[in-house]
């Protein structure tokens, strides 16, 4: 269990490092997505039980995992997907306007 949590922490700080230190807009979006993936992994890890199966109560279930974090993870996935779409769209617009994706070169406002 601790190994999974260390992986989650590493993924999270990897995402934050990417956001802070990269200049390319696409790489920043990738960093945000890595952070989001670590969050989903964290929610799944919260609901984990040894030997548990998916939370579907059909005839032959014995032990099921916690259904609540899975529902929250679904919400997080959907919202992450839509925000990623908007971010990529804005990146396309930026590239068309400035001809570059480097945030240190995108300075002037052009109307």
């Amino acid at each position: 269990m601790l190994a999974v949590q260390i992986v989650i922490a590493i993924l999270f700080i990897l995402g934050i490092y990417t956001i802070l230190n990269r200049k390319n807009v696409i790489k920043i979006i990738m960093g945000i997505n890595i952070m989001e993936a670590s969050l989903i992994l964290f929610l799944i890890q919260l609901s984990y039980k040894d030997g548990g199966t998916a939370p579907i109560l059909d005839k032959e279930y014995e032990l099921i995992v916690d259904p609540l974090p899975q529902a929250l993870a679904l919400t997080a996935i959907v919202i992450g997907a839509s925000t990623t779409a908007v971010m990529l769209f804005l990146a396309i617009k930026l590239y068309k306007e400035y001809g570059t994706l480097d945030i240190s070169e995108i300075r002037r406002l052009r109307g």
């Binding site: 230190n21 579907i56 916690d66 529902a71």
Partner: protein
């Protein structure tokens, strides 16, 4: 290595240590076994909603209002992207594949439709649901656009039909929620409003949950394919 880089590296390293220490606290307090709300859902969920998939029961019954907000987020994302795209007609680069690709895609499309609608209609009985099924249906349009190009599919008419479907899904969700209010209970009420719940494990059961799943599936499929169409159009 500049000072700024070392500084941010140090801060991030501290954050990582903080996260690991917090997780170790979680382990020691044995958080995993003390969720009262989850216990309630596991013990009472099937009796309350007659949906054997507990995740669907939580999403579309106990927390249906959250799901409406979630659907609104996708709706707004599609709205932003389609509003900011230019209306000028631009065509995707028309790829010439070998005939094998066209044959295979034409062959696979009906099966993808069946798979998507199976995921939607059996959302309360098996893994899946409106969101997953909607995404599968959206991939059909993505595949068709990539293989056959944009022009083949009379773009404007298709886009208008898709936005109509999206509005239908959104309005249908709200109308099903209002049915609960009309019968004198809360918004999105299901079991307590006396709707026909049926027998747990059957296809027609669980009151409004399959209908909400259907509406969500239509909405998600239409929204995601609108987003894809607009992104393709923007790239040229």
């Amino acid at each position: 290595m500049t000072f700024k880089k070392v500084y941010s590296l140090g801060l991030i390293f501290l954050l990582g240590i903080l996260l690991v220490v917090t997780f170790m606290n979680f382990n020691q307090n044995n958080f995993n076994n003390n969720y009262d709300l989850s216990e309630y859902y596991i013990n009472q969920g099937v009796q309350d909603t007659k949906s054997i998939n507990l995740v669907t029961a939580i999403l579309f019954d106990y927390r249906g209002f959250d799901t409406l907000g979630e659907a609104t987020v996708i709706f707004i994302a599609a709205l932003i992207i389609s509003l900011l795209t230019k209306r000028s007609t631009s065509s995707l680069v028309y790829n010439n594949f070998s005939p094998l690709v066209y044959q295979n895609i034409s062959f696979i499309v009906p099966f993808l439709y069946i798979f998507g609608f199976y995921l939607i209609f059996y959302g309360h009985l098996s893994p899946g649901g409106g969101f997953a099924g909607g995404v599968v249906i959206a991939t059909i349009f993505v595949l068709l656009t990539i293989t056959f190009g944009v022009r083949r599919t009379r773009e404007e008419d298709v886009l208008r039909a898709k936005s109509l479907l999206e509005n239908l899904g959104m309005a249908g969700f709200v109308i099903i929620g209002l049915l609960g209010m009309v019968s004198g209970y809360n918004f999105l009420a299901n079991g307590q409003a006396g709707f026909y719940l049926g027998e747990a494990g059957k296809l027609i059961s669980a009151g409004t949950i399959p209908w909400l799943n259907l509406m969500t599936g239509i909405k998600v499929g239409a929204s995601l394919s609108i987003i894809f169409n607009c992104l393709v159009r923007e790239v040229e």
